[in-house]
Symmetry: C2
Subunit: 320 residues, 2 copies
């Protein structure tokens, strides 16, 4: 397997990305190679500082650099020699099997859609977050910012995508899918929730268990929590700030440790025809290492193929 | 001042409400009387159990009881002798100066609108929550569940209402009003946020400082955080569950203490022509006591009059 990594992506790049790639070396097999995308001289310099032999990696020279604030579509068109542009070209051609970046997440979405493309039947690809639950297990929260205005059919597909992700990557059998709402009764919520509930309640595509409230997010009520990207983003960032605040105040235990985003290494872009991982902008070396390991896991499980198959079944169901 | 309290409102009523009323006695002056609304025999029995002389209170016999799950409008129409129905009649007639309940919050909103009514110019009354910030101060988050689908003009009014509440009750000078969003740039967010930002950005009615993200909620970036009731409800309930989880895990300090909802005693229904406080369903005696003290403060400051005046100015501004 060839694991692509954008060396220039993230607030602490290229130092954290190179250090993360070096950390990952000891956790991959000899048949797996990490492919580094970035300006060659920067990569060689950072590898030198890290004391690692460049031969441990495949290096693809990408002289242009994309900024975090650049407009995704324009950036990819105007910078065809950036790490994200070249990374996606090589993902499409099959020269690499996965591509990961903690950089411009908008460019990662646009790059995916214009290269490997969206899985047939998927309206919009999305991203997710891992929520550590009190009982030691996790939930998948989605979307977390890719789709801010999600129509009910898109919300429904979040249920499919989250369910397959929870089942195949986190080994949750028959994941319980819930809608994030402000009450548990069917008629509760805003128009979006009410319409989404109506679509989901008889779902044969996933195990819908109804509404859950904000107070249930950290409890073991659901394995997949569906909401629009605006709400998911607010929840995710609030939880991250709670984690940082607790650590700052000197609190720590096994549960608080599990709130640390570094453990999770980013999120696959769910619904595209390959393995694309979007990392957290503030990824440190540990987070980058975990992003690489996650991309390996997502590829080896064949998540995008499983989603493709589920969507074929879903399309047939729709025609009945 | 006559402070009305629904004895039958809340999950732990009537015990917690009566105990809370007894606790409040020592913190009000002799010119202030607490008026208890509920079935007389229940009130007398609980006062007896609490060892308090019934003459400390004014008791209004309300033989009917509203359930938490009952439909707000139907409940008030079909149960004219319930504590909420009679409480609002007496609030309208001026026999009491404020009315508070930790019971059916929908019935509190409907009861307010059909008795004292909405302040002229206010599109929809709303509720808020207190967010304890890291630096020791608080923010007002609104709406938190009353208006799940808030149009931009309603979101704009949340800015006015929250600003006046922060200024007059929490003594925050020139409160910084922010929009809760998934990024700080103007163009970020869902359609609702984008449209609301466009209305707010040149506001002369409050001090708009732009967008804040989920990670900023607990920081001292804003004094008033505006969002729709769906999002606010999710944030509020998530924070409450974080508090309970931390306490359960044995963590406590002055900051975590400040996350305890009991300290805040509920929220005024902002935008109605009187002082109406909606308490938390799970209010214990301390929360009820604080709800009574909050209703006293909100009445004495004359918050609804200040909102009326602001709305007159707001209306004039609109005509210019």
């Amino acid at each position: 397997m060839k694991i692509g990594l954008d060396v220039m992506g993230g607030d602490f790049a290229p130092k954290a990305t190179i250090q993360g790639a070096c950390l990952a070396l000891s956790e991959i097999s000899s048949s797996e190679r990490i492919v580094l995308f970035g300006p060659e001289e920067v990569i060689l310099e950072e590898l030198n500082l890290a004391g690692t032999d460049p031969d441990n990696f495949i290096i693809v020279n990408c002289p242009e650099v994309l900024g975090m604030g650049e407009h995704p579509t324009k950036a990819i068109v105007h910078k065809p020699k950036s790490s994200i542009a070249i990374g996606f070209q090589m993902l499409k051609s099959g020269e690499i099997d996965s591509f990961s970046s903690a950089g411009n997440s908008g460019a990662m979405v646009v790059g995916s859609m214009y290269s490997v493309g969206t899985i047939q039947g998927i309206i919009r690809p999305c991203t997710s977050a891992i929520v550590p639950k009190e009982n030691g297990t996790i939930s998948i929260l989605l979307d977390v910012g890719t789709i801010t205005d999600a129509k009910p059919d898109v919300m429904y597909q979040f249920g499919i995508l989250g369910s397959l992700y929870a089942e195949h990557i986190y080994k949750v059998p028959n994941p319980r899918v819930a809608l994030l709402n402000l009450g548990t009764e069917e008629e509760k919520g805003n128009l979006q929730c009410q319409s989404s509930f109506a679509l989901m309640k008889d779902s044969k595509d996933f195990n819908f268990i109804g509404n859950i409230e904000g107070r249930d997010i950290l409890k073991d009520k659901a394995d997949v929590i569906v909401c629009d990207g605006y709400t998911g983003n607010v929840v995710l960032k609030l939880m991250e700030s709670v984690y940082r605040l607790l650590v700052k105040r000197g609190f720590n235990d096994d549960y608080i440790d599990r709130m640390n985003y570094e453990n999770y290494g980013g999120t696959p872009l769910l619904g595209v025809n390959s393995t694309v991982i979007v990392g957290h902008g503030i990824s440190n070396d540990i987070a980058i290492k975990n992003m690489i390991l996650l991309s390996k896991e997502v590829h080896q499980v064949g998540l995008s193929t499983k989603i493709q198959k589920a969507l074929q079944k879903f399309s047939l169901n729709n025609k009945e």
